[in-house]
């Protein structure tokens, strides 16, 4: 589904990704771990199409297409979704308005009919329940005044609604309390299917206890230095990055 080959990217003069290789097959969950500043968010952003990053080498093939040729919205239409480490506030725009516009924009490009207000409301209520979110969140401005944890839940709510093929989840577990972590983790699990792949950026074992990854990769200084299965995460938790690098 996703092949990343020798991907190099920089911001200004500063190289950040220095040759990433990664194969993600349909149905797999890959966890990306690594120290602060190692390039995890950069990788997700490059895959989602952020223009601040310049790709200097390498290629990304997603479902047979050259992903890097597509605009961010075209990637969304093609089924790419990114959950932001820092979800953005949009003052004056109601959450429900964004959700509906997003769902219908993506439906349109998948050849589906536009959801009418009532149909959409039914759908969104279902998903709210899964995420254990109050309906009041629909009528608040997008991310404005949301607590850290509420923002993350809202991101996963969007993922539930948009049903992506490839989900890039950047530290969706940071700032969550124990209960919220379970809700978000189960929210991700519900989305697991043989057709859907997930790239999960996280610092902690605890999310991986709920969403059990097929592969774990350690990204250090813009390179994947180590890959393994679930047990690699356990080792990291015990020994830290320093211990692993020393080994």
């Amino acid at each position: 589904m996703l092949s990343i080959r020798n991907l190099h990217a920089r911001v200004g003069d500063k190289p950040i990704l220095k040759g990433i290789d990664l194969e993600v097959n349909a149905g797999e969950v890959h966890a990306i771990m690594g120290p602060n500043g190692s390039g995890k968010s950069t990788l997700s952003s490059v895959l989602a199409g952020r223009e601040d990053y310049e790709v200097t080498d390498g290629e990304v093939i997603y479902m047979g297409q050259n992903l890097l040729d597509l605009e961010p919205e075209e990637r969304a239409w093609a089924g790419v979704f990114m959950s932001f480490q820092y979800p953005v506030e949009i003052p004056g725009v109601k959450n429900i308005y964004l959700l509906k516009a997003a769902v219908n924009a993506i439906r349109e490009h998948r050849g589906l009919t536009e959801l009418k207000a009532a149909e959409f409301l039914k759908l969104v209520r279902e998903k709210l329940k899964v995420m254990q979110m109050d309906e009041a969140f629909l009528h608040r401005n997008v991310n404005e005044g949301f607590s850290g944890g509420e923002k993350k839940r809202n991101e996963i709510l969007q993922m539930q609604l948009l049903e992506p093929t490839l989900a890039l989840l950047d530290e969706t577990d940071s700032g969550l309390d124990v209960d919220a972590l379970r809700v978000v983790g189960e929210g991700i699990n519900r989305m697991r299917s043989p057709e859907r792949s997930v790239l999960l950026v996280t610092h902690y074992q605890r999310l991986l206890d709920i969403v059990k990854p097929d592969f774990v990769h350690v990204l250090t200084q813009g390179e994947i230095k180590l890959s393994g299965d679930y047990r690699l995460a356990e080792r990291l938790e015990r020994e830290g990055y320093e211990g692993i690098e020393a080994a």
Partner: protein, 480 residues
Amino acid sequence: MSQQEIDRLVDQDYKYGFVTDIESDTLPPGLNEDVIREISTRKGEPVWLLEWRLEAYKKWLEMAPPEWAHVDYPPIDFQSISYFSAPKKQGDGPKSLDEVDPALIETYNKLGIPLEEQKMLAGVAVDAVFDSVSVVTTFKEKLHEAGVVFCPLSEAVHSHPELVKKFLGSVVPQNDNYYAALNSAVFSDGSFVYIPKGVRCPMELSTYFRINQQNTGQFERTLIVAEEGSYVSYLEGCTAPQRDENQLHAAVVELVAETDAEIKYSTVQNWFAGDDDGKGGIYNFVTKRGECRGDRAKISWTQLETGSAITWKYPSCVLKGADSLGEFYSVAVTGKKQQADTGTKMIHIGPRTRSTIISKGISTARGQNAYRGLVKVLPGAVDARNFTQCDSLLIGDQCGAHTFPYVEAEEPSAQLEHEATTSKVSDDQLFYLRTRGMSEEDALNMVVNGFCKEVFQKLPMEFAVEAEALLGITLEGAVG
């Protein structure tokens, strides 16, 4: 204008002489007393009105154009303008929509304006059996039953002379400012609205206005009077783009709200802004003022300004009655090389008078947007309160926003609050929305509409929807 120039104007004989051509619909360019007499004669006005115009003209000659606005334009040659032009006759216009500029039709469609209304707006000659004609008749009957007077000012001069005489110039005196004086001398036409005591106007006057659009000319003058306990909502303008060969527009709007009366005045204006360098656009110099004469009276101005090369406009409220209320909600968009200097004045005179100002300025391309507001609290306006919020949104980095909030509080018990923000549409916001499947343009529209929401909420429903669409069209090409 220098004293020298004024002298020159006063002394000069009209260059082309003055010939009355009965056949012609338009007076030759130039302004002097004879021109004003001619305007008045052609409109069949009573003597008192002619005298009123002449008085205004004399005052105008002694005045100089304002120079303090944050706008920049070449001096206007007032002798090169024609001051009278008869309303266009039916049949002069295109015969069908096929003859209308396709670009205009495309914009109408984007705005969702119904076909029959498009014909009206484009000046297509319409059949007598046309649906809207009967709609207009129904409206007229309904208004008549309620006792509401709603007609062109030129008609009211004859049908309700005592009202016009009593209120005309009572809010905006002839010599209020340079352009108001000019308007008073040469005003073409406009609307007259009178809501009798205790009457709630049975419909938005906008609805009627839209399908009964008239060529009111470049010196429009509107007078709205709401008697005790009455209510009216009036919408001026239209989201459809308006082109006009007259470059200078100098309108005057006067509102009078008596005790417990409420006037809601909404404006959506989309004058042709000129090309990318601002050439050919309209200069729009407007004086709008409302007076809350009675206790608990309320006047609110809501506006969306997208057009004009230059806009100079400060809808104001004079809060005389105790507990009276003034509101100003505004969205002004400047792009291309447009310049806008807009804002409001709230003059607190009565005790416990309150005012709210919400101003949203959006600048794109090389647009320059200035907010200029004055909150004045006179001694005796005990416990007067004002809340002002000025927000500017910049799209791109060649545009500018400027705020000039002036406060003159002469009453110690007054409470004044001011908040101002300047923000840029951030790449983060656009990227976030695009990853959710929105095109770059839709993403920008969403951010901008969010920014304007507090103001759009105040517009009558159907216009709020059109206003959003209009904003979208205005911003086309602002990113990317």
